[in-house]
């Protein structure tokens, strides 16, 4: 145990890169704010705040997926993830940070009455509209703010409790009784998080934050679709960090066997995402009812056609064909490539989910989107690195660590 490198030290290069990305991102943010965010034109405003919305929501959900991964594997009594569990833990420390940014953006959008983003904020239009007044119990600023506060607050709190208990595994060896109690307490905390996760990401939050942009349109698949998107990107993010740390000579206990299992998650949830994509699409295509097809009209036949189908190629065809083979999932280079591709693909998916509704006539993908993306990637690298360095990389005395070391697929 003594020869294992447990303490991550942030390389100077990583710091430089993350600060450079944040710098580029901040510049884009400021220029965007001046030219678009406070401009008199509603479309420019919608583009700026929409870009912020999908980026903040995407990255918050992706980071939160890490905590979901830990909780779900804990509930399943999984042992294999213990050798690298500090990585998803470190990623999930970003939930409070990205969550508060998301909260600030959404609060601004709702409180400044931007009804070109959320049409349901327009009280006069809602009063005249039987569909929207029927939804008013769910889509109103009070409920929106309370539910968003609760959601982000409880994600952060329950995730923090999960990380706190994991610290105990650093302290002293556990005997059988202590270990059993430790696992039981882990299970209870994981269950609490998972229930809250199901009530938010699994159902209400994507409806509230993103689907309500098309206030008249609805799809019960939407939340699961969003969850699948964020979870598969979350797994890809974990894979990237695992590979990065392996390359730096850390995580001696993690090897191809673990990488293959992460790869399986990336593969399986890409298929799951496609399943939901198709279920949502086909039912609407088949029924062909105008109030439902309105969502797909400009995406499939309008200006978003290219992005819409590119999205399907990146997020379905590529993972299906490339990650199918066992040897591909055990190949560090290929998994790195696929992880970056998948994260980019689902970022693009979130782009068309939000911006496709806000700017129906033309695709706005440009410097602002990539600038804000760079801001979030920079923040992610910076804060994940910092929180990785703050704790040992190995959960030394976790009862399941041995299971992870001898893990074999």
């Amino acid at each position: 145990m003594a020869s294992i490198r447990q303490q991550f030290e942030i390389p100077g290069k990583m710091k430089t890169w993350s600060l450079a990305l944040i710098g580029v991102g901040l510049a884009a943010f400021v220029i965007g704010l001046v030219t678009k965010g406070i401009s008199a034109d509603e479309h420019e405003q919608a583009q700026f705040w929409g870009t912020l919305m999908y980026n903040t929501i995407f990255w918050t959900l992706v980071c939160n997926a890490s905590m979901f991964f830990i909780c779900v594997t804990t509930l399943a009594m999984g042992g294999w993830q213990q050798s690298f569990r500090r990585i998803p833990e470190a990623i999930s420390t970003l939930v409070p940070i990205f969550g508060s940014i998301t909260f600030a953006v959404l609060l601004y959008v709702v409180l400044s009455d931007k009804h070109h983003i959320y049409h349901w904020l327009d009280t006069e239009a809602v009063a005249k509209d039987p569909i929207l007044s029927g939804k008013a119990g769910f889509l109103n600023p009070t409920f929106f703010i309370i539910w968003t506060t609760l959601t982000i607050g409880l994600w952060s709190l329950l995730g923090w409790r999960m990380r706190q208990i994991s610290k105990e595994a650093d302290e002293a060896p556990m005997d059988k009784a202590t270990g059993a109690r430790f696992i039981l307490r882990n299970t209870i905390r994981a269950a609490l998080f998972t229930v809250w996760f199901a009530l938010t990401v699994g159902s209400t939050i994507p409806w509230l934050w993103m689907m309500s942009i098309d206030a008249h349109w609805y799809s019960t698949m939407y939340s699961w679709y969003t969850f699948a998107s964020s979870f598969v990107s979350g797994m890809s993010l974990i894979a990237l960090w695992v590979i990065y740390l392996k390359n730096k000579g850390y995580l001696e206990y993690t090897n191809q066997e673990h990488l293959q299992d992460i790869g399986k998650f990336m593969f399986a949830f890409s298929i799951f995402w496609t399943y939901l994509w198709f279920s949502q699409y086909m039912l609407i295509w088949y029924a062909n009812i105008p109030e439902e097809t309105v969502y797909f009209k400009h995406r499939v036949q309008g200006p978003y056609k290219g992005i819409f189908f590119l999205n399907l190629i990146i997020n379905f065809i590529c993972p299906l064909l490339i990650l199918m083979k066992r040897s591909a999932k055990r190949n560090y280079t290929l998994v790195t490539f696929m992880a970056i591709l998948i994260i980019f693909g689902h970022w693009l998916d979130f782009y068309q989910m939000v911006m496709g509704s806000l700017s129906k006539d033309h695709v706005t993908l440009g410097w602002l989107d990539f600038g804000i993306l760079s801001l979030f990637v920079g923040l992610l690298i910076f804060f994940v690195g910092r929180s990785l360095a703050s704790k040992p990389l190995i959960v030394k005395h976790h009862p399941f660590l041995k299971e992870s070391i001898i893990h074999q697929v």
Binding site: M282, W285, Y286, N288
Partner: protein, 197 residues
Amino acid sequence: MAKKKFVVGCFNDEAVLFPAVKKIRTAGYKIHDVYTPFAVHGLDHALGLRETSLHTAGFIYGVTGTSTAVGSISWILAKDWPLNIGGKPSFALPAWIPITFELTVLFAAVGMVLTFCYLCQLAPFVKKHHFHARATDDLFVMVIECTDKTNVDDLKSFLSNCGAIETDVQVAEDGWWLGRYDKNEILFENKQTVAAY
């Protein structure tokens, strides 16, 4: 195929089995197979077995299923007998995806089961030789193939030294079951007499 002679060693512990496999292989003996009551992790690596190609076969069956489905449905609904269904175009791909998916799964699954049975020489009414009945219960049974240079007594004592609780010698059929049994039941020692094949 000729009948072959095998030396069988029985182990009652996984922890003894692994070093034994290693020693037997280092000593140059050819392990025919190890029969275990449950799947033992890492044993395939220890035995130096190559990876199965079953999944490649499965992929090919799956692709066959996909193309069968897309090919036949598109020919039927778009070319041979186009119908107007709810004003949809004849080539209505989204509506076909479920059937295509199901045929892919069906072809892959059935094909892989049949291939697996063929590779493992399993079929109804085919009796397989059991080297030890307790391999299905609580014994790890290692079967070593004898060549004409194998000294059976040496090998038996070597096995016992490795921790085998029981050893014996068996002569068994080791052929493909597709009508290729050797009717004459000639042992390998006498194979110079088998000139027919």
